[in-house]
Amino acid sequence: MVFSSVIFLFRFLPIFMICYYLVPRRMKNFILFVGSLFFYAWGEPVYVMLMLFSTLCDYVHGRLIERYRGKRKATAFLISSIVINLLLLGWFKYADFLIQTVNGLAGTDFPLLNLPLPIGISFYTFQTMSYTIDVYRGEAKVQKNILDFGVFVTMFPQLIAGPIVKYRQVEKDLHERQIKAENISYGAKRFVTGLAKKVLLANNIGALWSEISVMDYGEISVLTAWIGILAYAFQIYFDFSGYSDMAIGLGACLGFTFPENFNYPYISASVTEFWRRWHMTLSGWFREYVYIPLGGNRKGLGRQLLNILIVWLLTGIWHGAGVNFLFWGIWYAFFLILEKLFLKKVFEVLPRSFGWVYTCLVVLLGWVFFTVETPEGIAGFLRAMFGLNGAALFDRKSLYLGREYFIFFIILAFFATPVVKYIADRLERSRTGYCLALYRFGEKVIPAVLLCLSIAYIVDASYNPFLYFRF
């Protein structure tokens, strides 16, 4: 079930929330667990068993690690937990990619498994791994109540598209959270903001990219190619960050505090900064559980650069089983390493706008590897972007699309920056009666308008894809 659907907004959400708020506190986790299983089983009636297996498995491992704390068995159980998680992920996500690679290299003919990818598996396996690792390190207490642990793994707000919540971040909330009116209010507003980002912004600009992405790259003009990749950049940002907003908002309504996942990534003036603002919980996860255990920056420059490369290869492949995702990871590793070596210092001297333009170029070109997928397609699209396909700088088509989406692009750019937040903060803090009144008015009216508009777009639903099934 996706959040931006009639079935979620007008069936699941109201019925679930009424039950959740009505039952006494000690029953809330049970309702949340059952509701989450229903939510997941709606889209994955078979793989829900896989998620339950994963939950049970890591619950048992956590307890075993606790029981044998200090002994070698504890380490063995930690390794077993990680191996099982990675095997699950490997089998369902990477097996076919590996088989294809082996067949291609060795000329063998192993049949493909053709398994559909269980939704959210990349997210929940990372969450459960963070649990066993933290228990082993003593950074989190073992969870003895299987229901509380089940809630942590299966909780529907962040189950299928993040943010990736570490166990210790919600450890306290799992058994003693308070549901306050302020939290519900904040959560409801945050949810509507996310819904509007996904439905009003991402889906609409996504329609432009899906139109351009199927054109013949040998013939599209330079302008069309750039409009296309810009459209994709906005689509994935508003889609993904909108989904995170909805998750954080729903979490707040349930009494949880989830970590932030995006912080206006497109204003970054370096690639390093970009990855501190983009999908923060994923980069945070890799930093904590891969980069630092590998030695981070404490074992000399050479080792640090190697660690960066390893982390970004993994980040790349995490996003999808394909060579293009590996390449996408390497692409970022390359610029991060350059920045570590000297580039960051260069841009620190120059005006911020230089760094911003450079970062935008790196990110936009990066999205080509990310979204086009086939090597020929990527090469073709890059050629088109730089006019090497022999097509014109612009043509009738690009002018039409440019005109058609001009206003929309301005709106997208506006909301990708913190301007709105800045204005709202200024108005709220101002002492002038008018400004404050304006803020109060906007605060009351805007969420309701956004919600109604989002409903209109969802009902129209001519275009409502969900981008994260592959992650």
């Binding site: 009639v6 007008f10 129209d460």
Partner: protein, 372 residues
Amino acid sequence: MSEKRNAIFTSGVIIFIILFFTVADFVTPDRLFSETENRILASKPEFSGEALQQGTYTEDYETYVTDQFVGRDKWIAVKTYMDILLQKKDINGVYLAEDNYLMEQHKPEDYPEELEEEKLELLEQLVQRWDATVMLVPTADNILTDKLPKYADYYDETGLLARVRELVGEKRYVDVYAALREHADEQIYYRTDHHWTSLGSYYGYRAWADATGKFPVIRDAERRETVAEDFLGTLHSRINLPMEGDEIQYYTDTMRNPVTITYDFEQTADSFYEEKFLDTKNKYGYFLDDNHAFVEIQTGYPNGKTLFVIKDSYANCMIPMLAQHYETVYVLDLRYFNGKLFDFMETYEQEGMDVLVLYNCIHFLEEFYYIK
């Protein structure tokens, strides 16, 4: 304290909206059919363990809930208004053209040369065997090109028409394109529908008469009468905004002589026009009782001549004019016919039977298909 009240007010409104529409949706009865969308809406799926396991049950259930959502038409209208506010000029595959015209979008890449090739081959066989006259009508975007949004792309039908002309020869080719171009400033296409108007088809008829050397029976473009003024056609359905309706008209001369029409071998009528359609959304069905696989027309005009028309819905408003020249007219719509075309035609063949292929260019590419 007031800050807290404010915050609670905002979320209260959000929660109210969601609950309100949830309850409203539960109490509104399901609709079978959507007039505005002109399609049957999804109904509640039947539960089965197998469907659940395959995921089709939940999928169907979601389609059902979305299709039946309370106020569906109004929500869609809100979305369309937003699109217009954002200066969008194409919505759901329809261009919002100048002077309140809606025009169907035909992208050049959807009509590649191979498709043209395939259809031309079929056409060639038909023309060779039956000495057929060919009349391909351009769509509105090709005639009212000036009204299209700036830089808008459209499939240019002149290339196809030139190839058809060359293929079938000057003698058998009716140049509707030139005829319509000449009258591009008149109401020759509906503003809200993808068909041409009776006036448009009149110019088509004159072009046909010129090409085949017939003396036109209807001599005056103005001899038509309006039977409905509130026709909102298929293109309007895709946009669903309040618009002024189109007029449905017919040529009075076509009503002068009695006719006997047999639809699909069973249902008979004594007029080309079916008034019952004027009370429905599908007012274009007024002409020749909407779409039928096979129509047989006896005019009682004893000249012994026969016409066999292979056609799409564009022909429906023009056939009453063509029929003025024949004793018998057969009308075949290939979309609803799955026998062998030539065998079928042979059973109706008479000495000197004229054969006419009458399509609009887009339907010709999309739907012209038969088995010899």
